[in-house]
């Protein structure tokens, strides 16, 4: 056994947009152990159930994270709606699904840009962010918000989108898809990208299952599980299969996210073709009484919003299990045995969202 050195990685590090700390125990250049520490920006959002009523909490859920904001608010609303037996209008479920898929596109493009930046491919980083900007513009046109959309509410959505606007958005998404294909071709065919990501951080199917992985982390290891197949919102009326790769390395995770972008474009097209007419919200009266685990598929994987209510304005418990939280054990395992130079790539390969994790 060589001399062991402990190298602190983070919480402030060029590759980390948000703070997470790892104590990396090294033997020469090889990581033999990684001890993570989070909690630098823990905000105690769940504790706010004691001060804010269940309707106000929608705004809190929307602000858990700046990347997957909308799906958080949708998951929370779905939880409350289930407990209160509220039937959400079909049009509202379709709009929620459109915004969810645009949020997924936005998040995956963000990840592609950050990953390109991490392995030093600056032009790829800029191209990814250029495309993402257009997606965020579309969200702004439909909802008024670019990041925190603020359109979900218990009982439906706050804004309707007329069919002409929706058709125009779909047209622009399809044009953007060609742009995305050019960028994704570089990710999937460029030798330097393949060299940097291929064979790095391999998780077998069994390991991914044992470590409790979710989202692209899990699907890149050959597990065809996607919470959207539960059929929440309008997903039950859409035709799609989970995107799966089998190599289990960082390159496979990249490929899953890229193929999910293509899938999101297809889902948005399906939604626009089927969106029904009608109201976008119903009036909700009374207070929730009961409990439910509301599950949705975030860009990073399954998120679980647990709500427990006792018939008053204030919930007894609001708990959010975010996908990054579920993927941290896998990160710890992947780092064991890797080269120090691969640590930034491996941290980014789980697409860490520390804001979510520090809800």
């Amino acid at each position: 056994m060589g001399t062991r050195t402990v190298v602190p990685f983070g919480p402030q590090h060029p590759v980390l947009p948000e703070p997470i700390h790892l104590d990396l125990v090294l033997e020469d250049e090889k990581v033999v152990e990684a001890v993570p520490k989070i909690g630098f920006i823990h905000r105690g959002f769940e504790k706010l159930v004691e001060k804010m009523d269940f309707n106000e909490l929608v705004y809190v859920a929307d602000r858990i994270c700046g990347i997957c904001a909308f799906i958080h608010s949708m998951a929370y609303c779905q939880g409350i709606e289930t407990v209160m037996h509220v039937e959400v209008p079909a049009r509202a479920t379709y709009l929620r699904t459109v915004w969810s898929e645009l949020a997924r596109l936005s998040s995956h493009m963000l990840w592609m840009g950050l990953m390109a930046d991490a392995f030093g491919f600056e032009s790829l980083f800029m191209q990814s962010f250029r495309i993402r900007e257009k997606i965020v513009d579309m969200l702004e046109e439909m909802t008024g918000g670019r990041i925190i959309l603020g359109v979900c509410k218990v009982g439906g959505v706050r804004r309707d989108v007329d069919n002409d606007t929706l058709a125009a958005i779909v047209q622009r998404v399809n044009v953007l898809a060609a742009d995305m294909r050019r960028v994704s071709d570089v990710f999937l065919r460029d030798d330097s990208v393949r060299h940097r990501l291929g064979g790095v951080g391999v998780l077998t199917r069994e390991q991914a299952e044992d470590l409790g992985c979710v989202g692209p982390m899990m699907r890149a290891s050959g597990i065809a599980r996607d919470t959207r197949t539960l059929g929440y919102a309008a997903y039950g009326s859409l035709d799609f299969e989970p995107v799966v790769e089998t190599d289990g390395d960082s390159y496979a995770r990249c490929a899953v996210r890229i193929r999910e972008c293509v899938q999101s474009v297809d889902l948005i097209n399906q939604l626009a073709a089927k969106v029904p007419a009608g109201e976008v919200a119903v009036k909700v009266s009374g207070y929730p009484n009961g409990e439910h685990h509301s599950r949705c598929e975030q860009p990073r994987g399954e998120v679980i919003h647990y709500v427990k209510a006792d018939g008053t304005r204030y919930l007894q418990r609001y708990r959010v299990r975010t996908p990054t939280f579920a993927n941290v054990p896998a990160l710890v395992k992947m780092l064991q045995g890797c080269e120090l130079a691969d640590v930034p790539v491996l941290v980014l390969t789980i697409d860490p969202c520390i804001s979510c994790t520090e809800r």
Binding site: I38, I304, A326, V328
Partner: protein, 121 residues
């Protein structure tokens, strides 16, 4: 797949046997969390298999709550257990990775144990 959810309350002494069985039967640990109630606390372990969410619930006293770790069956449970320790003051014995209270840095120790007396209205 259907979003079926099952809740099963079990006595604390049978927790490890029950979790071991879930593991053998191929359930995935989806989440674990604690909830503070008026007289006691409840801890939920939710397992997923083919879309069905099966939650095992145990109840703990408000004073000196303690649990055995399930990380021997589900290694990733150590994160949930450290969270329960830091936010709810639950002692979890035998965790695969024990941060000894340093997982979350909070101004008030175990902030989720007490409830705010003022509801803001």
């Amino acid at each position: 797949m259907s979003d079926e959810q099952v809740l099963e309350e079990i006595p604390l002494p049978s927790l490890l046997d029950r979790v071991a069985r879930m593991r053998t039967e191929g359930w995935r640990l989806a989440q674990a969390s604690a909830t503070r109630l008026v007289a006691d606390q409840e801890v939920n372990y939710s397992f997923d298999r083919d879309g069905t969410l099966h939650t095992l619930r145990v109840r703990l006293p408000m004073t000196d709550p303690a649990l055995p770790s399930i990380s021997r069956f589900y290694w990733s449970a150590f994160l949930y257990e450290n969270e329960m320790h830091d936010l709810f003051g639950i002692t979890v014995t035998g965790m695969a990775v024990d941060y000894r209270g340093a997982f979350y840095t909070t101004m008030i120790p175990t902030p989720y144990v007490t409830r705010e007396p003022d509801h803001g209205d």
